[in-house]
């Protein structure tokens, strides 16, 4: 097995046993990056020099016995909306084209403490707004399975990098599906944890009440290990929740006997691609074969999730993004007269069309006279959606469905019709509105050879249940494929 084919945990074991040095692992990843980047463009910034320096340091710490964790020495990539001290952090936006943070995000710090080597920063839709990674100001990322297709978004760079072997795992962020949908399109595994599990400190905010950082990896085990590493209670994030059940790798159990799995009928209606439906239902069948109790049920309110999500996320974004004004950091227009024009020109030049669209939408729904009709109503809808899930989780351990209605669309197709693009988030956004954990696991391919993802949703703080279901599915599915 070549190094680049190894999973993160396998590589970690080889590094600890001395079979592979950290430098060899980093060099291998950098070689893959050099080979694949011209086609894929998963990274905004590759920190070759920093990664090589860090490799030597980490190697020494492992040899001294200071680093013993399963991910020590394993090279990783970080989405470009997570602040990294002294390393360019653009958020995929021209307005932060030159922004070098003065501090490192808590999730990244947790990785570094575990001995991760950061290879660079991955491409993303500008400010995580988009489902294709095409709204980045620094070029389009392509799907490693077929470069005529998008990798999904907004964590498209992270997912493509993992799929292409340009890193061993990556961090993404998920506000409305930004980890799960591109994981599905790129055939990798990703988790969006319960809101409050991973600190948001240093994550450049899009929709603060919905944003969560999470792992993107080659398989369920890697995903659980990375989540275990980045999850922490952080006093710097008021929405962080102290939890004592963060030993997610303990849930890697190949058994779902008696587990109750619900399939929402509402997720299999109009708009769902036939091949995706088939693959997901097959996956449900596999879990049933392994002893799970699988039932269909009506979740309700599914059609209200997208409007509620776009109102809330855009409202928060319109305020979160107001700090990008050319005064303190980032882009400032070259020519302007007076303060007002400086703001206007810097923001006009700095933000792309999708970001502007959402800022305008968000400003509108918060404006006097419309606040009750849109923003408050969306908050009420959010509460009702949470109630619908609460009801479902009274009956089921895990909810199973597709991660996206289709496989990865072709480049250039989605942005022409933003409304249609928004509708593609139908299976993912309600999870963020309800603050739930959910993950995507590959469950097959369509006839064109593009990956299909299975989404498993758990109740708040029940990551272990979805990890167990995902692991059992993955193990069984892999054994069947190999036969």
């Amino acid at each position: 097995m070549s190094i680049s084919e190894m999973t993160a945990l396998e590589l970690g074991r080889r590094i600890r046993s001395g079979d592979v040095t950290v430098l060899e692992a980093v060099q291998e990843a950098l070689d893959q990056i050099k080979k694949k980047e011209p086609d894929i463009h998963a990274y905004v910034t590759v920190d070759e020099e920093g990664a090589l320096k860090r490799a030597a340091k980490v190697q020494a710490m492992i040899e001294r016995g200071d680093l013993k964790g399963p991910l020590a020495g394993v090279p990783a990539a970080v989405k470009d909306n997570l602040c990294t001290k002294d390393l360019l952090t653009t958020c995929g936006s021209n307005i932060l084209y030159n922004f070098v943070p003065t501090y490192t995000a808590e999730a990244v710090q947790n990785l570094e403490k575990a001995g991760a080597v950061i290879l660079g920063k991955t491409n993303m839709d500008e400010f995580a707004m988009g489902s294709t990674t095409e709204t980045s100001a620094f070029g389009v990322t392509k799907n490693p399975w077929n470069t005529d297709h998008v990798p999904g978004g907004s964590s498209g760079g992270s997912c493509a990098a993992v799929a292409a072997g340009e890193c061993f795992y990556a961090l993404g962020s998920d506000t409305g599906g930004s980890i799960r949908q591109p994981s599905s399109f790129c055939g990798v595994t990703g988790i969006k944890p319960t809101y409050g599990t991973v600190s948001r400190y240093g994550l450049i905010a899009y929709g603060s009440s919905l944003d969560q950082v999470g792992p993107v990896a080659k398989d369920v085990s890697d995903c659980a290990a990375v989540l275990e590493t980045i999850a922490s209670y952080d006093k710097k994030d008021s929405t962080s929740i102290p939890r004592k059940d963060l030993d997610f790798t303990g849930a890697l159990v190949d058994d779902v006997k008696g587990m109750k799995i619900g399939i929402p009928r509402d997720y299999f209606g109009e708009g769902l691609d036939g091949q995706v439906r088939e693959a997901v239902m097959r996956a449900a069948g596999i879990l049933k074969d392994r002893g799970a109790v699988v039932e269909e049920f009506d979740l309700s309110l599914v059609e209200y999730a997208i409007p509620a999500y776009y109102v809330i996320a855009s409202a928060e974004a319109s305020s979160n993004l107001s700090r990008f004004d050319g005064v303190k950091y980032g882009l400032r227009a070259k020519e302007y007269e007076g303060l007002h024009q400086m703001y206007k020109k810097s923001r006009s030049e700095g933000f792309g069309p999708e970001v502007k669209r959402r800022i305008m939408l968000g400003s509108f729904v918060l404006s006097s006279g419309y606040y009750d009709a849109y923003y408050l109503k969306a908050l009420r809808t959010k509460a009702l959606i949470k109630q619908a899930f609460d009801k479902a989780f009274a009956d089921y351990d895990v909810i199973l469905g597709p991660a996206a209605p289709t496989t990865a669309p072709k480049l250039g197709e989605s942005l022409k019709d933003p409304l249609k693009m928004y509708l593609g988030d139908i299976y993912t956004v309600s999870v963020n509105l309800a603050g739930l954990p959910a993950m995507t696991v590959p469950c097959g391919q369509d006839q064109a050879g593009l990956p299909i993802g299975l989404q498993l949703i758990g109740d708040c703080f029940q990551e272990k249940k979805i990890i167990r279901a995902a692991y059992t599915f993955e193990q069984t599915f892999t054994r069947r494929e190999e036969r």
Binding site: A205, S319, R323, S367
Partner: protein
């Protein structure tokens, strides 16, 4: 003027809280410091940074709210007020709109016509902005975020005041109350207390409120009084001319004693308030409220009454002694040390007030220790120094907090009560002033006073005046 008008005034008072650290980060709130040295990613609005509420801010807001007889919102929230300005690094201010921490309270003030309750509409917590420095020379503007994130409470009154005197009494009441609670030093000049005045006029006897204006940039009690008079006159003149008052925000120019419109209601900004998703709702338990209540200190009216009763201090004096917490503390500590409340009161009421006036200072500036004043009082009491010398020593205590015993010893100011030395001095004075001796013997009593004065002068004020008197009389009648 044919018609009679009534003025209706409501106040919005901002008070900077006395916390050591900022409202949403651990940076120091200390005044001064090189620009942007008391800052971090949070208070400079760095991408990805998040606010964490300082518990002490809630405690101070609660203490003020309870002292002002307010209802407490035991489930309160922070909202974002969105507007663009460079002194505000996030381009939104974290404040409270929908669920402020305190509401519906009142404070009682003394007016010309007796006691009056002024309603408190609400008290909310918020963050202060940074400071813009416009460099005319370089033609640029610079921002200092040291003040960004300093905690404030805004106290919004009901429109219950009718003239400048009531406004002054209300402000004075708030200042005293908040100072006593230790929640702020409330210095108008330094901006730790700021007031915006909402004012309208209406024909006397009517109950409908007139159109109001909001006056900003009021930096002293005097400016507030002048602004109220100016705005009242301006509005009445408009109405008398058959014109309308426009609802607008005006800026007071105290040098010109006039105001100009900043913005009208029509072009008022839409702040697009919404609950800040980065902060959790603040849940205030009954127990927490009880804790704050049990910690509330003795307030000024109670203290003043106690001074009169416990120490037999006259009402007027007790009022002055309790007019700042600094003075009251000094009084109580010194009294505890020397057990002579009247003496202490005297020093504070007369000499201290005189010196403060002379140095253009306020009681908040007092820096001498109660120990040194107590020692000074003891020295006089023991007869170690006389009153004239004591005043000189007190000036040194006031200025540099000197130890009076050491000072007296070093400067040789101890009272001379050595019979021989005094007799010699008096003999010298009598010998040098035969005319006065003559006058005295002719019945001019005043001449004796002159001779005593001359002796005291010759002794550089250190002589025991009682003994000098005795000796002069003895030698003259010999």
């Amino acid at each position: 003027m044919s018609r009679q008008y009534e003025t209706v005034i409501g106040l919005e008072v901002h008070v900077e809280l006395a916390t050591k650290t900022k409202i949403f980060c651990g940076c120091s709130t200390e005044f001064g410091g090189e620009p942007n040295t008391h800052t971090c990613p949070v208070c400079t609005g760095m991408p990805g940074s998040l606010p964490v509420l300082n518990r002490q801010v809630v405690e101070y807001a609660l203490a003020v709210g309870l002292a002002a007889n307010c209802q407490i919102n035991q489930y309160c929230k922070f909202d974002r007020k969105n507007y663009f300005y460079p002194d505000n690094p996030q381009n939104y201010q974290i404040s409270q709109l929908y669920l402020p921490i305190c509401h519906d309270g009142w404070v009682e003030i003394d007016t010309a016509s007796g006691k009056k309750k002024i309603g408190i509409h609400e008290i909310h917590m918020e963050e202060d902005a940074g400071k813009l420095i416009h460099d005319e020379w370089e033609d640029c503007s610079l921002v200092d975020y040291n003040r960004s994130g300093v905690p404030l409470i805004e106290i919004v009154s009901e429109p219950d005041m009718r003239n400048a005197d009531e406004v002054m009494a209300y402000l004075e009441k708030l200042r005293l109350m908040i100072q006593y609670l230790g929640a702020s030093d409330c210095k108008l000049q330094e901006g730790s207390m700021r007031a915006d005045v909402n004012l309208s006029v209406r024909e006397a006897g009517t109950s409908r409120l007139g159109t109001r204006t909001e006056m900003k940039n009021l930096n002293s009690f005097k400016a507030i009084a002048r602004a109220i008079e100016g705005e009242r006159a301006r509005q009445i003149e408009l109405l008398e001319d058959g014109k309308k008052v426009i609802q607008e925000t005006r800026r007071w120019d105290d040098n010109k004693e006039s105001s100009y419109a900043m913005r009208s209601k029509e072009d008022a900004q839409d702040y697009r308030y919404f609950p800040d998703p980065d902060l959790l709702p603040v849940v205030i338990s009954d127990q927490w409220i009880q804790e704050i209540k049990s910690r509330q200190p003795e307030m000024q009216p109670e203290k003043m009454a106690r001074y009169q009763k416990e120490f037999q201090i006259p009402e007027y004096d007790a009022g002055i002694l309790t007019s700042t917490i600094h003075m009251a503390r000094l009084f109580e500590k010194t009294t505890a040390l020397c057990g002579k409340p009247k003496e202490v009161s005297n020093w504070l009421m007369v000499e201290t007030m005189r010196l403060l006036k002379e140095h253009e200072q306020t009681p908040e500036d007092l820096s001498f220790s109660p120990e040194n004043l107590a020692r000074l009082i003891a020295l006089v009491d023991e007869g170690a120094i006389n009153r004239t010398v004591a005043k000189t020593v007190f000036e040194q205590i006031f200025a540099q907090d000197v130890d009076p015993e050491k000072y007296v010893e070093e400067k040789g100011l101890g009272m001379v009560s050595d019979q021989g030395a005094l007799r010699k001095a008096v003999e010298d004075v009598i010998a040098a002033n035969p005319q006065s001796v003559e006058d005295y013997r002719k019945g001019k009593e005043k001449a004796m006073g002159y001779l005593v004065g001359q002796t005291m002068r010759a002794m550089k004020g250190k002589a025991d005046p009682g003994m000098v008197n005795k000796i002069v009389k003895e030698l003259l009648t010999k």
